[in-house]
């Protein structure tokens, strides 16, 4: 069971690393669309990884010694909780890309231009609404 716990810890830390990537991307990227790219992907992946790590911890917490002796009623609650956490991961996998898509569409609708020029790359990372082409 120590292996499951180590796996869970690694998954949670990996999720934190991806979230660090998303956070750096949200601060450093030059325009709205690339920020949305960093936020959407890093956020979804880190959330799913952390929830999977938590599922590993939950399964490791089951008193397996009693279960092997035939007391299966101890399995009910941890497995129900694990299924719910996996359900959250699944729903985030569906809804988070959709909201990213919807916000991209909203950015296009509100008239934000993408950051295309290489010249003013290091001048101002946080551009205004209409950068010069």
């Amino acid at each position: 069971m120590i292996i499951l716990q180590i796996t869970g810890a690694i998954l949670v830390i990996l999720g934190l690393v991806f979230f660090l990537g998303a956070a750096v991307g949200v601060v450093r990227f030059p325009d709205f669309y690339s920020r949305m790219h960093a936020a959407g992907k890093g956020d979804t992946l880190s959330t799913i990884l952390m929830l999977l790590g938590i599922v590993c911890f939950l399964i490791a917490d089951v008193p397996w010694a009693a279960v092997i002796h035939g007391d299966f009623s101890l399995l009910v609650e941890p497995i129900l909780t694990s299924i719910k956490v996996l359900m959250i991961a699944l729903l985030i996998m569906v809804t988070s890309p959709t909201s990213t898509h919807a916000l991209m569409q909203a950015g296009y609708d509100s008239g934000i231009k993408p950051h295309l020029s290489e010249a003013d790359d290091d001048s101002t990372p946080s551009d205004e609404e209409t950068p010069t082409p």
Binding site: G15, E77, I92, T95, L103, D109, S110
Partner: protein, 94 residues
């Protein structure tokens, strides 16, 4: 294990600070809405982590699930707002 989850929760709070920077300094409203979206997704994980710390995940996972389902409606509404706003402006212009 409890200490590990406390440290993970604290790390999530610390990593939210850059997102808060984007919330304060975002040049226009869309960047702020982006930051809201990111923080909303992370709140789900924080709720499950708080459940792990109290060793009562079965109780907390219910409203983490509700959160994951409902969080999507807010950004969808913002997207609809911009879409309808553009249509309204085009209608006004033509």
């Amino acid at each position: 294990m409890e200490l590990f989850f406390k440290l993970a929760g604290m790390a999530l709070f610390v990593l939210m600070l850059p997102i808060f920077y984007r919330l304060i300094a975002g040049p226009n409203a869309m960047d702020r809405i982006l930051a809201v979206n990111v923080i909303g997704t992370k709140t789900t994980v924080l709720l499950v982590i708080i459940g792990m710390i109290f060793a009562r995940v079965g109780m907390f996972v219910d409203f983490a699930l509700a959160y994951a389902l409902l969080n999507f409606i807010g950004s969808l509404a913002a997207a609809r707002y911009y879409h309808q706003d553009r249509l309204r402006q085009e209608r006004g212009a033509s």
